[in-house]
């Protein structure tokens, strides 16, 4: 069935302002938005730029706004969008480099700001550190993050104040703070408790748009409790 796809286009070198361009694509059963974009790029208009890699929802390259919601193009079935014209736009609030590819430097800087790495004071043994199944379960729902940017791009607090660390970086902080093996809490606490840290989250839950069904709002809530109990 032929369907119309309205795609956001912008090449700052050539265009005065962004515009939408419509493409017609024949959509068989099982076709994803990434398949549609590839079809357009390979058969109709090679100038269309977007990021993609693994094409099965794990590398996090192809987050974009599809009919107004942030999703991974590669795992979004066209059929799931319920027919009609489909609108595809870049992730909001990140500067557009070209078309659907956005500049994520600020997003990565926020990630780096929370010390997104395992910190251990105690030297390891010659085997693994032990961790119980229950302790390990505590970081389920956080370590799976793919850094796709869908959550931070959808966060009104981040729109309001771009200095806010944002949900992705805070979820990463959660992944280490609640890892029973990590000993970096003292180093991370001032960052989380800072002016642009946890408290800028107003529990709006937009970030639960996460394509991996993670819940940064909940994780931030847990971090807030942790900071309160440690600090005050």
């Amino acid at each position: 069935m032929m369907q119309t796809f309205k795609i956001f286009r912008f090449n700052p070198d050539e265009d005065k302002k962004p515009y939408h361009k419509s493409y017609q694509v024949d959509v068989p059963e099982g076709m994803t938005i990434l398949d549609v974009l590839n079809e357009i790029k390979w058969k109709q208009d090679g100038s269309l730029t977007f990021r993609r890699s693994c094409r099965h929802g794990i590398c996090g390259s192809c987050a974009m706004t599809i009919n107004g919601l942030n999703k991974l193009a590669c795992e979004t079935q066209v059929k799931s969008l319920g027919g009609g014209t489909v609108e595809v736009e870049p992730l909001r609030h990140f500067p557009v480099i070209k078309d659907l590819a956005v500049d994520m430097d600020d997003f990565y800087k926020k990630y780096e700001a929370v010390k997104p790495y395992f910190i251990a004071g105690t030297p390891p043994t010659d085997k693994e550190r032990t961790q119980s199944i229950e302790e390990r379960k505590k970081i389920d729902g956080s370590y799976e993050c793919t850094l796709c940017g869908a959550c931070t791009s959808s966060c009104p607090s981040y729109w309001a104040n771009p200095n806010f660390l944002g949900p992705a970086a805070l979820l990463k902080a959660y992944r280490f703070v609640f890892d029973s093996r990590d000993e970096g809490l003292e180093e991370r606490l001032p960052i989380l408790n800072s002016r642009y840290g946890l408290w800028r989250c107003h529990t709006i839950f937009n970030c639960t748009i996460c394509p991996k069904s993670l819940n940064p709002t909940w994780a931030i809530g847990e971090l807030k409790k942790k900071v309160m109990s440690e600090k005050y």
Binding site: S53, C59, D126, L147, F176
Partner: protein, 575 residues
């Protein structure tokens, strides 16, 4: 622009980042990658990484070695394989010490599961050797390594695409890369260059690989006049989701999944009565393909069923959550209650850039090293995997040999190595590579050429091959190479020109595929993943040797080098 670094690593997957982590502890290290590092294809590894930790039951590195040697159908170099299995445990623990979120046993140790080709006590029963983080093991390893690289202040150049390797008189001085976002060419001048550029399975229509896995590193090496090793050995993973070929982890069978045909029979009984679904991948893929070819695919179509239903909801959701989600999102099938349609899918390059056991690239049958040039991971051929890789040995290969290569580069630099002088015409080749594509004026469509390449590689150079199909494929490739000269790229701009990227990647694919086909045509035997229907037997008398393939004006030139055998003499493989 010229960038100066001690170490320049191309590729931000597990091999590249492990090396970067090692070298960045003492020397200035930069990583170039055509994608942001955590988008590298290592992220897609699912089921586990192999190490004989013995956390679930007794295990021994010698058993792991035996399995690896036999899995490789005796074409692997046993000295290199021994390094892999002896260092695997230490590396698994080191990853854990860096925070890698492995799943856990009741005692709180790293959890391990069964995988194809891994057995106890020299080939007896299945063994739990695959260390896992649910079914996101590659994700867990790659993010852990990236995190530690951030901690170590490794310099990253993301979305830089390497066009040429600078080598003169067997000495490497750097690479030239294209800045994809803004379009400029950059020279990276280094004391050592390492490639961890990954695999090439995008050259087949049905494959598990990321769209970026176009074998660029391998082709850049060929274009620099250096050889590739054992390219004819291409692994088809038994279980790709039908029809796209997206990976369904071997861990699904490791956890107890069955393969059944249209008669509802577990057909592996016929082909590998002892090890069944947990036989090595070459054996299982061939068996599935035979069932399909002989009309026992489901509804006579090109797939069979993977049955996970008996595992139960809880086990599936705990141990295979990503797979469950993936099958649901891509096929609309709930693996808890329904069969999963699967087919063999192009997956992994056993061959690649020849290296010695320290990751140093070697350039001839005598294994003469290229000074300052290293490689590790899927793009490299040490050779660990010989004619067929065991599941879980690839991520561990990347980790063990990434680490070794990082250390070797540091040793090389600390022994006083200086940067070799850049060639006078350092930029020329890269410039003409871009300009050739940008100025070409013709009617050929790069996408159509790629489609034809992928479709014909499936038919003529897939799981089964023979002289006729390989000769046919060589003709097809020659013709596509000719057509490639007449492509035209519509968008000529500098800014994030992924149309140009696609076209250069296609050019790279058309280079390395020729070595696969020519190497496969010459090798008149069946060994591991190379199944010649016209030569169905392994021929140790004539073919117990590694292929080396160079690209020359006249076509691909072949030579051979011996296989290192230390402990285990070749014997017949039965599973």
């Amino acid at each position: 622009m010229v960038h100066e670094h001690d170490v320049v690593i191309v590729g931000g997957g597990i091999a590249g980042l492990y090396a970067a982590l090692e070298s960045s502890r003492s020397v200035d290290t930069a990583v170039l990658s055509k994608v942001f590092p955590t988008r590298s294809h290592s992220i897609s590894a699912q089921g586990g990484t192999a190490a004989p930790l013995g956390n679930m039951e007794e295990d021994d590195w010698e058993w792991h070695l035996y399995d690896t040697v036999r899995g490789a159908d005796y074409l692997g170099d046993q000295d290199a394989q021994e390094i892999l299995v002896r260092e695997a445990g230490e590396v698994a623990f080191e990853l854990e010490h860096m925070g890698c979120p492995f799943s856990r046993t009741e005692e709180g140790k790293i959890a391990q599961r069964e995988f194809g080709g891994h057995y106890s006590n020299f080939g007896k029963g299945p063994i739990r050797r695959a260390c896992y983080a649910a079914d996101r093991t590659g994700h867990a390893m790659l993010h852990t390594l990236y995190e530690q690289c951030v901690k170590n202040d490794v310099r990253f150049y993301s979305e830089f695409f390497v066009l040429t390797l600078l080598v003169e008189k067997n000495v490497c001085s750097g690479v030239v890369a294209w800045d994809m976002q803004s379009g400029g060419l950059h020279i990276f001048h280094a004391k050592t260059v390492m490639f961890g550029t990954g695999g090439y399975a995008r050259a087949w229509k049905v494959n598990t690989n990321a769209l970026s896995n176009t074998g660029d590193g391998m082709s850049v090496v060929l274009q620099a006049g250096l050889p590739l090793e054992d390219m004819e050995f291409v692994q088809f993973h038994p279980t790709g989701l039908y029809p796209s070929g997206v990976l369904v982890t071997e861990g699904a069978r490791g956890e107890g999944g069955y393969l059944v045909n249209n008669e509802g029979k577990r057909f592996m009984e016929k082909y590998a009565p002892a090890k069944m679904e947990l036989s090595p991948r070459d054996v299982v893929s061939r068996s599935i393909q035979r069932e399909i070819n002989e009309g026992r695919g489901i509804g006579g179509k090109g797939f069979v069923h993977l049955d996970l239903r008996h595992l139960g909801r809880q086990a599936i959701m705990e141990k295979l959550p990503q797979i469950h989600e993936l099958i649901l999102k891509f096929s609309g099938i709930d693996a808890v209650t329904d069969f999963v349609p699967i087919l063999p899918t192009s997956h992994y390059a056993m061959g690649g850039i020849p290296t010695n056991n320290d990751g140093q690239v070697v350039m001839d049958p005598k294994s003469t090293p290229v000074a300052g040039f290293y490689a590790a991971g899927e793009c490299a051929c040490v050779s660990l995997h010989g004619a067929n890789r065991l599941g879980c040995n690839s991520t561990m290969d990347c980790a063990v040999f990434g680490r070794r290569t990082g250390r070797a580069m540091v040793r090389h630099i600390n022994s006083g190595a200086e940067k070799a002088r850049l060639p006078k015409d350092a930029l020329d080749k890269a410039k003409s590579k871009l300009e050739c594509v940008l100025t070409a004026k013709g009617k050929e469509s790069p996408a159509a050429i790629r489609d034809e390449l992928q479709a014909t590689m499936m038919v003529n150079c897939g799981i089964f091959r023979d002289e006729k199909s390989l000769k046919e494929q060589l003709k097809v490739i020659k013709s596509l190479q000719e057509q490639y000269k007449w492509i035209e790229v519509g968008y000529k701009g500098q800014r994030f020109n992924t149309e140009l990227l696609d076209a250069i990647e296609l050019g790279n694919m058309l280079d390395f595929v020729e070595t696969i086909v020519v190497g496969g045509l010459a090798r008149t035997e069946s060994r591991g993943a190379h199944s010649r229907t016209d030569f169905p037997k392994r021929d140790d008398a004539n073919w117990m040797k590694h292929t080396l393939a160079w690209k020359t004006e006249a076509g691909v030139r072949l030579d051979y080098k011996p296989v290192v055998i230390t402990r285990f003499q070749p014997e017949e493989r039965k599973f």
